[in-house]
């Protein structure tokens, strides 16, 4: 793996250390290793001069967020130095970063919903004397800052009643009010409308012209091209390189972002797909929060693995939860086998033969304080052989657990061990064991190998392929392209809640090619996306 991270546009290290104000913020050989051994950032050298808009791009897990958190004092580097205002600093928390003039706008905004915009802007440093808050001064300050920066807000409106865009502008004003000289924007456009994005960019440019240094984290290459002066690309924790935006194309950036040297080879035979098991037509989902879906249509046949690629947050979670019955689609038809599942509850989905490995096992994949044995039976605790005539037999539950522990090589001394005490990989095995042992007709596997060790990863791959060969339809959702390409017989790409790519042959497919679709550089047209799908005629119209 590429450890040093010295890319084409990256200046050598000595220059970063010997600064005298020509650098607003810099990282010097910064490495971050988490307590669980995950190395999120590896020896990164990055320096940003004052008055520059620097985009930092990279795939999920490339380490951008961790790096930014170190600049803002939310994380401390394991080794290396963080330089702010020309000197090496130890940032113990956001407070010390704020004091040094670093402001950060988080993806999940840190605002008090019942407060007004002005109150949020001044929170913690309220104007006024003798313990009182001068409300008028707060409004005036906010209005003045808004006028100066071009970030239009209504100072007197309650935050929970204004648009997401205005909330974000409020966050930026908050940083400005604290005299930030460096502003970190973490995926600021993810929640904005195109017009709001335009306005934000105009404001950011104005700030830059006033001397502000802006670090702009994003996946959206088009926006990066539009807003930034330079782009730094991260991959697998390392800095791949920094290029002047003028010299970069979306394609060249995508090439730098995607793909890793380590190839993944899973021994699998060609798929022998038979009849269609999952049939999704005209699916749309109106999300109150999160990503909405529209015009989703695809098939998954028994005996094939269909991968779903996409930058995280483009609708994968929503799609998986709809298919598993945890969310109700707004419109559209979903048929699994012969069953129309769109109106069923979760238990109904499970009865229809759907297994689901959820993306966040700690959230809903397991009851952490309960035993392995209990965690393995949540979908079958009320029927034979475990339960008969309203009685659940603990001995049967235990025997069931021992069989699966054996079969799925779950490393544990006893079935009564609480799941919480297992490692990530082992915990995932418990979940996979439960879902696969139900003999699902359709298996939805979401981020199956996230945070698991290499051994468990291999194991998951083998099991997925085995399930496919046994006749299951497998829908594999992952943020890891390498994994998707290694396992998928066919591949779909989701972007902004729509299917934008469909590859029926993955043999010659490269990560870079798929990356172009994920990043919105290219897309397939509708004919290609729906080619060969029987029309929705047989779905009941009413």
């Amino acid at each position: 793996m590429n450890e040093s991270g010295n890319g084409p546009g990256n200046r050598p290290r000595g220059e970063a250390a010997g600064v005298d104000g020509s650098v607003a913020v810099a990282a010097c050989a910064v490495t971050k290793t988490y307590a669980n051994g995950v190395r999120a950032v590896r020896g990164v050298d990055l320096e940003v001069p004052p008055g520059e808009i620097r985009a930092v791009v990279g795939e999920n897990g490339a380490g951008k967020s961790t790096l930014m958190k170190m600049f803002y004092g939310l994380e401390q580097p394991t080794s290396g130095e963080i330089i702010v205002g020309g000197r090496s600093r130890t940032l113990r928390g956001p407070a010390s970063a704020i004091a040094l003039g670093v402001g950060m706008v988080h993806q999940n905004l840190m605002l008090v919903p019942s407060f007004t915009v002005a109150q949020n802007v001044v929170l913690g440093v309220e104007p006024g004397r003798r313990g009182l808050v001068d409300a008028r001064a707060a409004v005036e300050t906010t209005a003045r800052l808004a006028a100066e920066s071009g970030l239009a807000v209504d100072p007197k409106a309650r935050v929970d009643e204004v648009s997401v865009g205005m909330r974000q502008r409020t966050e930026i004003l908050k940083a400005l009010h604290r005299k930030a000289r460096v502003l970190i924007l973490d995926e600021p456009t993810a929640v904005l409308t195109p017009q709001e994005t335009e306005d934000l960019f105009a404001a950011v440019r104005r700030l830059r012209d006033g001397g502000m240094t802006v670090l702009f984290i994003s996946h959206k290459l088009r926006e990066v091209r539009e807003i930034s002066d330079k782009v730094s690309v991260m991959r697998a924790g390392s800095l791949v390189g920094t290029v002047a935006t003028a010299d970069a194309t979306e394609r060249s950036l995508a090439a730098m972002m995607v793909g890793r040297d380590l190839s993944l080879d899973v021994g699998r035979t060609p798929a022998r797909p038979t009849e269609v098991t999952l049939r999704v037509r005209d699916l749309a989902y109106e999300a109150a929060t999160g990503q909405s879906l529209s015009e989703i249509a695809f098939d998954v046949a028994a005996g094939e693995v269909v991968g779903v690629a996409g930058i995280e947050g483009n609708g994968q979670s929503e799609l998986a939860e709809i298919l598993a019955g945890l969310r109700r689609p707004t419109v559209g038809s979903i048929r699994v086998g012969g069953t129309d599942t769109a109106g069923l509850d979760v238990a109904g989905h499970r009865r229809a033969g759907i297994g689901y490995v959820p993306e966040d096992r700690l959230h809903n994949g397991a009851a952490l304080d309960e035993s392995i044995a209990d965690n393995l039976v949540v979908d079958r605790h009320d029927r034979p052989p475990l339960a008969r005539r309203g009685v659940l037999h603990p001995r049967a539950v235990r025997a069931h657990a021992e069989r699966l522990i054996d079969e799925y090589a779950i490393r544990t001394p006893d079935p009564s061990v609480p799941v919480r005490s297992l490692s990530g990989g082992n915990m995932q095995k418990v979940i996979v064991a439960r879902e696969l042992s139900a003999g699902p007709r359709l298996l939805i596997a979401s981020q199956v190998t996230r945070g698991v060790d290499i051994g468990a990863m291999r194991f998951m791959y083998e099991r997925l392929v085995a399930a496919r060969d046994a006749g299951a339809a497998v829908l594999l959702i992952s943020a890891d392209l390498t994994e998707l390409l290694a396992l998928s017989d066919r591949l779909l790409v989701l972007k902004d809640g729509r299917l934008v790519g469909r590859f029926d042959d993955t043999a010659a497919l490269t990560e870079k090619h798929v990356g172009l679709y994920m990043l919105g550089v290219e897309h397939h047209d509708r004919e290609q996306l729906v080619a060969g799908l029987d029309d929705a005629g047989e779905a009941p119209a009413a």
């Binding site: 959820p358 209990d374 979908d379 659940l392 190998t449 990863m457 994994e483």
Partner: protein, 379 residues
Amino acid sequence: MTTAPTTRVEREDRREYRATRRRDLAVDLSMTLATILAALAIGFLVMLLTGNDPVQAYEAMLTGPLDRSFRVGRWLEDATTLTLLGLSVAIPFRARQISLGAESQVYAGALAAATVAIFLPLPPVAAVVVPMVAAATAGAGMGFVPGAMKARLGANEIVATLMLNAIVVRVYDYLVNGPLKEPGSSAVHSKSIQQDSVLTPLTEWFGIPLGRANVGLFLMLLTAVALWLLITRTPLGYRIRMTGSNPDFAEYGGIRVPRAIEWSFVIGGAVAGLAGAHLVQGVYGRLEPGLAGSLAFEGIVVALLARNNPLVVVVAGLFYSYLRAGGDIMEQQTDVGTEIVVVIQAVIVLLVTAQALPDLLKRRIARRQRRQPIQGDAR
């Protein structure tokens, strides 16, 4: 890039696991014991500081209840009600529902049992059973209201149960003072229940005076075992446990979480209703003002101390009632007020809820023990 090898070591050795489990259990047990001892020590200090003789007081309190057979009876009779009320909140607690509604449920149960047992002529066995069924039903109904409000609407169950308590206690008070008051009596209470509805006193069984203790004791033990079986051996119990442990997981697994929550309230309510029946049919033989006293809230304490395990609730209930009974005897024999028992109980609750304490201790012990084998392995 999604992963890096994790450094965690899996504990694969079954023997070591068993040892760990034994150790955790030992820590839990000794923590419970230490909690009780600490509370008793604080009681000791309080008595000392208030100019009483704590040794004499504790002697009376801790040996008193076993002194005479009728005192044993007093203890068992109290323990029966208290344990039933502890069980009644342990079930919703298992679903992680903070139900404080035992008070409304026990009074509803008492009212139902008394109404049937006073006014409805029934053949011998039915005369005992039907009022109890009525009490359980009434209690379950009282449980259903906050349960459904929580499960279907997401209404805060603490406020709902407190309001229901306030309402039912007042209605009860009205009925005992009004429509159900024994005509012509100067004291406020209802007519006595029919003789056939009385739960047989234990005195008749064992031939020694056991006060008002009655066969309700065995009913309580049966209920505890039944609830333990419900929790550990039935699909519904499993659903209640999973709902309490991680509702998102339960929902993901196909469990209807709102139904599980509702059932936990209904079952708890039925058990509290039975406690009301015990008070009417076993203890007082009629309705009296405020007949449940502070037992409903102390049931919460009992359930907490027992970590909501039905079988342990019995032990905790017997222990608490023992303290209560001992406190009364202590007050008779010394100058120390029985209220010191409530203080001791309160200290126990506060220590039990301070969750960081045992975890802190467990972690420290684990760290010390882990260090040792590593040194041994170094050879």
